[in-house]
């Protein structure tokens, strides 16, 4: 929509640089200010959980969006698997601590919906050369919101209100999974000078990986499940269990989640 007002339908370069800075520094400043202002420790922890959930899931949702051709990013600065890392962090801050602490009582679906209507709808297809939107970009935006942003805000809200423990633990496990098994390995691979395309993906390797990974994932998930079911808390020490869990897998391993993460 905005593109029709721009010369050649694209933003001038300085405007793109300013936008890129703003998309990281704005949420960073907002999160810092709101966290400092917030007097309730429980809400601060809730905001932190939303950030942790968002980092892994935003990354994975964007990988799906890039693979589906819903959009792609221009430029080469700070790129991680086709996505600018500062934008990932900025998004996780904005759709986690910032929005939650700014409007803790607002329904996340309404909050997200108004952002899509007021911000993405008029702007998203006009962000060239920073973002090149495909024809189906709105599907991608809705997908990212459904997978990453809305659950992050719900996780924060439920954590602050200390309710829906099962859903909270499930969301934490989901977010942690993508953080530990997608985002961190990608960062490590990048730091070592490689990329996922260097990893052979023959069918037998994928099948073997799935056979090895499935029981480990199940074991780790069982550990988180028992914390909620018998301990009355989450696996994260900031929102701990209220009872000591000694049964199930904990009768044999003290920290099944860390063991499974390391093994995987």
């Amino acid at each position: 929509m905005i593109a029709s007002y721009l010369p050649n339908g694209a933003w001038p370069e300085p405007a793109v640089w300013a936008l890129r800075w703003a998309l990281f520094l704005g949420p960073l400043a907002g999160a810092g200010w709101l966290m400092k202002r917030e007097g309730d420790d429980r809400r601060r922890i809730a905001a932190l959980f939303a950030l942790l959930y968002g980092m892994g899931t935003i990354f994975v949702a964007h990988q799906v969006a890039l693979a589906a051709g819903w959009w792609h990013y221009g430029g080469g600065a700070l790129m991680l698997a086709g996505m600018p890392f500062d934008i990932l962090l900025g998004g996780a801050l904005l759709f986690g601590p910032v929005l939650f602490l700014a409007a803790p009582q607002t329904n996340p679906v309404l909050l997200a919906g108004s952002i899509v209507v007021c911000l993405h709808a008029p702007l998203f297809s006009s962000l060239r050369p920073f973002v090149h939107a495909g024809s189906d970009w709105l599907t991608g935006v809705l997908f990212v919101f459904l997978i990453a942003h809305i659950p992050a805000l719900f996780l924060a809200r439920w954590t602050a209100e200390n309710r829906r423990l099962g859903a909270r633990v499930t969301l934490l496990a989901f977010g942690y999974g993508w953080l530990a098994f997608a985002l961190l390995p990608t960062l490590i691979t990048r730091a070592m000078g490689g990329s996922w395309s260097d990893v052979p993906r023959t069918p037998w390797i994928l099948v073997t990986a799935a056979i090895v990974a499935a029981p480990l994932l199940l074991l780790g998930a069982t550990g988180a499940h028992l914390f909620a079911l018998r301990g009355g808390g989450t696996p994260i020490p900031l929102d701990p269990t209220v009872r000591l869990v000694r049964g199930g897998i904990y009768a044999y391993i003290r920290n099944p989640m860390q063991t499974c993460t390391a093994a995987l």
Binding site: E13, W17, L28, G75, A77, L78, F85, D86, I188, A191
Partner: protein
């Protein structure tokens, strides 16, 4: 308030180094921009401003209850300064942050007490 806090000279040294490195990074980014290369400019928020904000937050925190806690903070601040100083190694350094805690643990448990106390007296108020 009781507790452990860093010597003023340590705080000044860290902020002084960060200020110098920050200015250098800005100058390099502007020079690169004149050559038509925008990457250095775009990496400034994450590669310079973010670590500086983190260091400022770390050094403005209330005094720690333990000596080890303060050493962890100072070591993290030094590590973040290193990240600003060596942009080409920023990602490996950032991923290697837990090593800082290991080094502090080794310093606290393995260094001969005479050396350790001398260092601690120099940096802790």
């Amino acid at each position: 308030m009781s507790g452990f806090r860093p010597q003023q000279w340590v705080v000044r040294a860290i902020f002084g180094t960060l200020a110098a490195l920050g200015l250098l990074r800005v100058a390099v980014a502007l020079h690169a921009l004149q050559m038509g290369e925008e990457t250095a400019l775009l990496t400034l928020p994450l590669g310079v401003i973010f670590p500086v904000v983190l260091v400022a937050a770390l050094l403005r925190m209330p005094p720690t209850r333990t000596r080890e806690g303060l050493l962890m903070r100072l070591a993290t601040a030094a590590h973040l300064t290193l990240i600003v100083a060596v942009p080409s190694l920023a990602l490996p350094l950032a991923l290697g942050l837990p090593v800082v805690f290991l080094l502090v643990e080794l310093f606290e448990t393995r260094i001969p007490p005479t050396w350790r106390d001398r260092v601690v007296r120099a940096v802790l108020a």
